[in-house]
Amino acid sequence: MGLDVLIVDDSAAIRKILQRVLVQADVQLGSVLEASDGKEALDKLKDTKVNLILSDINMPNMDGLEFLTHLKAIPEHKDVPVVMITTEGGQAKVMEAVNLGAVGYVRKPFTADQIKEKLVGII
């Protein structure tokens, strides 16, 4: 059974790059879902389950931290590991994300190897 992943980022470019990194990573990949903000991500999770979420922070409609807060309140999704991938590199944002339940944090710009290393530590 493959790894089902949800990528949440308002940039289609970043979603495409992350999808490419996942395909290249040494993991058995299942489905890759995409959402352009936290609200769309929660909508997609209403009728599907994933094993991993990669999420941006700064997004319109619902940002990544608010999404994380809502996600952790949903029993069937609260244990899904969430890695934040964002330009927000300030210590306060990192701590906020970790306190909300994020298991990893990658700052943009990132390399494919950085993402792969992070996945190895989580999966």
Partner: protein, 174 residues
Amino acid sequence: MQHEDLVSHITQVTQDVFCTMLGQSTSVVQVKMENGGTGEACGVAALVGIAGGWQGTGIISCSSNLACKLASQMLTTEYVSVNDDVLDAMGEIANIVVGNIKTNLEEKLGILALSIPTVVHGKNFATRSLGKHDWTIVEFDCDGNHFLVQMMLIENTKHAVTPRGGFAALHRVS
């Protein structure tokens, strides 16, 4: 720390982002300050706003040709004309560059916030801020093509948050 420090942050972050995300080395061609705006431009300009104790805007602008090359490099797909993918890639490059400059500046300016990027594509357009604020402009060379990274940042005197100290005003509104 004033214009020169902002130039230093722009240079270091831009070179790092272009090298890491695009595999492109860049070099500084010239640095200047301009008041109010930067004149007419053609091609693609991606703008990101900064708010908080200091506020302003960061812009990355380049020719349509270079925007296509950068998007092609970033997405490993060849683009020969500007489309939604190219505009999205330019918006994200601006978001990452301005976001990292913002993070660097937060050590001295306090917490700042970023806007969602806005991307403009066309001919003979000009970008300018309301008021007559100084823009720090760094022109880079990227494989024979030039692009600009511009920032305007002013202290928000109405904002309650005290900066963490040490940053002299780049420009005060009179």
